[in-house]
Subunit: 323 residues, 2 copies
């Protein structure tokens, strides 16, 4: 378990390296006001940079380098942080990662090792490399410093948007939602709603069972939400602080991405639009919505663009500093 | 001529209605730092809302309604402001305006009248309607209150980004650049660079001639930059405050739009990417870049998406509040 002080400490630690992303505002339907934390505008295009910096700024003395396993955005974040901090980085990526994501990692000067598409396989491979080469493993989510770092996104959101009734957040391994839920529960009484793909609902099943449940490899366009079991270290926080899980279909993700393009003016990847999809479906009151990332392949973005506008109400978008 | 006090007054006047848009930061090439004012994230997706509110908040007593002529974004802004302020709105739009733009205007409850594609034709028609129906004409650019309102974008940019060496701004009729140049010249010594489409370079020709020159109807994908002659009332400010004009091709606009999608995470329309295209080509030092709008048709957005990433440097985007 982490607490608000851990997140506040992380916020101070990473401030020189990570951008304070804007909060966009949008009224939809009858009586829902969305405050959208645009982490797709973060450096490297996703929230993952927060946790990566918080972890990598606290490595043991004399650390020779780091290794990470990731479907893409964590890898990119660790590679970016490694370059900024002067640390050698190795990342283990799945063979079906979007080519743009692996290219972006290599562009930061990191070594990339490719394995199969299963998240367990790359986790084991990264552990092996860490042992063989004496590298420090940077977990993508199952680490309290990672969770504390990711929670800084929610801290900024609450500071900029004010009190919230609901908070929508994507869930994969659970690092982001556990850090954010820690903030939300300490600073108010917002309902915390996790969002998973319909075919990758391991956290939903785990909460129903009261213990961690592993799901089969999910089939979803949300390549960032394919972890098959909640992280062991973050699970107690998820169990204690997440009120419910909602699931989304690929079609709903596509529609939410089109809404983001034409009505918000921002680019989201499928995982990054998961929270928005549910907020558009059921949002009521003042809703915080974590837009987690925007790294998307050209073909998929073109397909989403062809869907055209998904206008919910006359445009009234603005930054939280606005009306 | 307007001065900084006019823009400051406009900023106070429109603050309850218009969002303070974020400033994104990006290092490119060797030694250029871009501070990108993301007016595509403004309500209605473009800067035009600033001038429209500043003008419409100062109408004569008992005004029965307003009329505007526009290729799209000004119409959308006036329609939005009319709805917010309870004023009937009529807009004259060109027959070749993107259908999404006219639909967005009608969605705000405004009356739309369609004429040919030439900007002079719609200007004359709007004047006629104003006279016949006793409506107040809201000029898209040739009005000092419009220029003062648009200048608030530059005021926010300078407040958030600090001193600038250069400022890149699209030019059509000249309302935006005259308001912004007023701010830049009062608050520093940045070089003010206007950007026009290659085939619609009336402001470039006018500055070279020392007097207003009318160009033939331009052929460009930048549908917001088709005005054929600088506005009469804003021309003295353009002549006095704009240091030079650069032109861009459709191909450069497409590349800049792709850069915005994949490297900035934001959607720009062709006119909105004009300043970015030139900043990417020649930017040096601390460059302010006005991203003027993001209202784009699905087919064109899909075409741009297919271009894929235009990576200039490893990602280091952030809001101005960040590192």
């Amino acid at each position: 378990m982490i607490d608000l002080d851990d997140v506040r400490a992380a916020a101070r630690r990473i401030a020189p390296y990570v951008a304070r992303t804007p909060v966009l505002r949008r009224e939809i339907g009858a009586g829902a006001e969305l405050f959208l934390k645009a982490e797709n505008l973060q450096a490297t295009g996703a929230f993952k940079l927060r946790g990566a910096f918080n972890r990598m700024l606290q490595l043991p003395e004399g650390c020779a380098g780091v290794v990470a396993h990731s479907s893409g955005n964590h890898a990119r974040a660790v590679a970016y942080a490694g370059r900024r901090l002067g640390l050698p980085v190795t990342v283990v990526m799945p063979s079906d990662a979007p080519p743009g994501k692996s290219a972006a990692v290599e562009a930061q000067g990191a070594r990339v090792i490719t394995v199969g598409s299963d998240s367990e396989e790359r986790r084991v491979r990264a552990l092996t490399i860490a042992g063989e080469e004496d590298l420090y493993l940077i977990s993508p989510y199952d680490d309290k410093e990672i969770a504390s770092g990711q929670g800084t996104a929610a801290l900024e959101l609450v500071e900029d948007a004010g009190p919230l009734d609901r908070f929508y957040c994507p869930v994969s391994g659970g690092g982001l939602i556990s850090g954010c839920a820690t903030v939300l529960s300490a600073l108010g009484d917002a309902e915390v709603i996790g969002v998973e793909p319909e075919s990758g609902d391991d956290t939903r099943l785990s909460l129903a069972a009261g213990e961690r449940v592993t799901s089969p490899p999910p089939k979803t366009i949300a390549d960032g939400l394919r972890v098959r079991v909640p992280g062991e270290r973050v699970w107690p926080m998820i169990k204690a602080l997440v009120d419910r899980i909602e699931t989304v279909t690929d079609r709903e993700l596509m529609d939410a991405m089109a809404f983001a393009l034409f009505d918000l003016g921002v680019v989201l990847e499928p995982s990054g639009a998961a929270s928005l999809a549910v907020a558009l479906r059921e949002g009521r009151g003042r809703c915080g919505v974590l837009l987690s990332g925007g790294n998307i392949e050209p073909d998929l973005l073109a397909e989403v663009a062809q869907l055209g506008p998904r206008l919910h109400t006359p445009g009234n978008l603005g930054s939280a500093a606005g009306p």
